[in-house]
Amino acid sequence: MKKYIYPLLLLISLAAAEAVEFLVPNSPLHQNAKHPYFGWIILAVTVIYFLYSGIQVLQKKKSENPPFYRAPFLAGIILFFNVLNLITVKLALLPVLYFPSLDRVFGTLFEDYSLILKCVGYSSGILLTGIFGGLLVGFFMGVGVGFNKTLSYWINPIIRILGPIPSTAWIPIFLLLFPTARAASAFIIGISVWFPTVVLTSSGISNVKNSYFEVSSTLGASQFYRIFKVGVPAALPSIFLGLFNGICSSFVTLMTAEMIGAKYGMGWYVNWQKEMMCYSNVYAGLIVIAVLFYIVITLLFKLRDKLLLWQKGVIKW
């Protein structure tokens, strides 16, 4: 039964949304979009979804979920946008300036894409540089602090004093210290990733069961081998937690840094469009930011799934 109801729900929701989009006239208060972008996009998404699921059904792929498992969710999303469409451009129930039509929001993605892509490139460049830099420094510093008493003596207090300062608070200083806003932003993002990574790496390592080290030393493992083949893998779940926290706070840092100091990037784009009172572009920018960060987090989770496969039976995910 579900096999038929799920896709049917999606089709009904789509039909309702398309009916509102094409049959109900737009309110004269709203600026007209060039094309009914919203109508086309939901149609495209639905068609792609049916093709994808249809192929899976035909190939009889084994999966945990029944076929068309995501169809009701998609139907719900389309319903939500349908209501939004109705109360904005169709009935103009919300302030016209701040709540532009969905057609114009999605239209921005097509009409302004070259600038948006440049900004995405600029932002992700900074973001990746900062994340990798912060991760490398945080990881090796964490391993050092976790294993070496002298390093821990000298570095731990510094971590405790400098770490809790919100990385965005550094912006005024590092914008002065670095030659370019780009380098400054990358460095500040590095700091925001570095702090949770170093703390959770070193605490992860000090929480490793001592018997793992003892057993490995009776098996002839050198100090170096013990650190990187016992300490690090045992602390990996904790290291990932630190990296995850760091990456989440790096998003905040990136946006703030770009809104304050930069002349490019998604944070700058959104802020600039707001000042221009182009709210359709602001929403489009937010959509792009969401997609960008979603991709980063998804990649991180994929990496975790690969590296921490062994944890699946130990810890409930």
């Binding site: 018997s211 003892e214 490995s216 009776t218 098996l219 002839g220 062994w310 944890q311 039976g313």
Partner: protein, 259 residues
């Protein structure tokens, strides 16, 4: 194959957080012949685990020294394999990689690859190479940890209550496994245990220890032939003899508490 172990007047003192000095081991002399199965038995606090840890090189003796084949023990090394009560298998490695760990750590895995399968078969874990420790039962994990300790062909295998966490049935199975492994590998085995029955069943020599001061009370040679019958009169006599010594130790402890 070699593996003669000699404790020479080994003392170990700890300083407790409150500043008081505790004698964890009070002048122990003991010689273990090559190929012997020796059990250290006694109540908690008698220093049996301390002895084993000093022999493994994980702890340093405050006074005296331990020799293996006339070489002084200073640090842990692969000539003394070690297995703990909790199997301490690395949860991030599968059974195969856990057992191969010692070879990889010494960078001789490539040359000795076949030995891994040999030891997997020795402990009866064929077919479970790809499983992770959490997917196996406690007894199977303990077998894997034995194989991991054995793979470097140690002169001596040190066992710190390796069967303590197992149920009675698995435990008796594992005791026979240990005897079989010793026969096949012909190595010295030193085992810490709480279980008198186990000690009599396995040992060539039983070292009975008492706490306060922590020292060796008596060394008993077990002359029974293998395999042993738990209902043999000599078996029962030895068991009650050891229990008597340990009971005495227990009473002394009670008196101290009542003061």
């Amino acid at each position: 194959m070699v593996g003669e172990i000699r404790f020479e007047n080994v003392k170990k003192t700890f300083i407790r957080p409150d500043g008081e000095t505790v004698n964890a081991l009070n002048g122990v002399d003991l010689t273990i012949k090559q190929g012997d199965f020796v059990c250290l038995i006694g109540p908690s606090g008698c220093g049996k685990s301390t002895m084993l840890r000093i022999l493994a090189g994980l702890d340093q003796a405050t006074e005296g020294a331990v020799y293996i084949d006339d070489k002084k023990v200073t640090k842990p090394d692969y000539d003394r394999g070690l297995a703990f009560q909790d199997h301490s298998l690395f949860p991030w490695l599968n059974i195969y990689d856990n057992i191969a760990f010692g070879l990889k750590a010494r960078h001789i895995f490539k040359e000795k690859k076949e030995t891994v399968n040999e030891f997997i078969e020795l402990v009866g874990l064929k077919g479970f190479e790809k499983s992770f420790p959490h997917q196996l039962s406690g007894g199977m994990c303990q077998r894997a940890s034995l194989a991991r300790a054995l793979i470097g062909h140690p002169k001596a295998l040190l066992l710190d209550e390796p069967l303590g966490a197992l149920d009675a049935f698995t435990r008796m199975n594992m005791q026979d496994e240990l005897l079989r492994i010793r026969k096949e590998q012909n190595m010295t085995m030193v085992m810490v245990t709480h279980d008198v029955d186990e000690a009599v069943y396995l040992s060539d020599k039983i070292v009975v220890m008492t706490p306060r001061p922590a020292k060796i009370e008596k060394v008993i040679d077990v002359k029974l032939s293998q395999p042993r019958d738990r209902n043999n009169p000599e078996f029962i006599r030895l068991r009650s003899e050891i229990l008597k010594i340990l009971d005495f130790a227990g009473k002394e402890k009670e008196i101290e508490y009542s003061i």
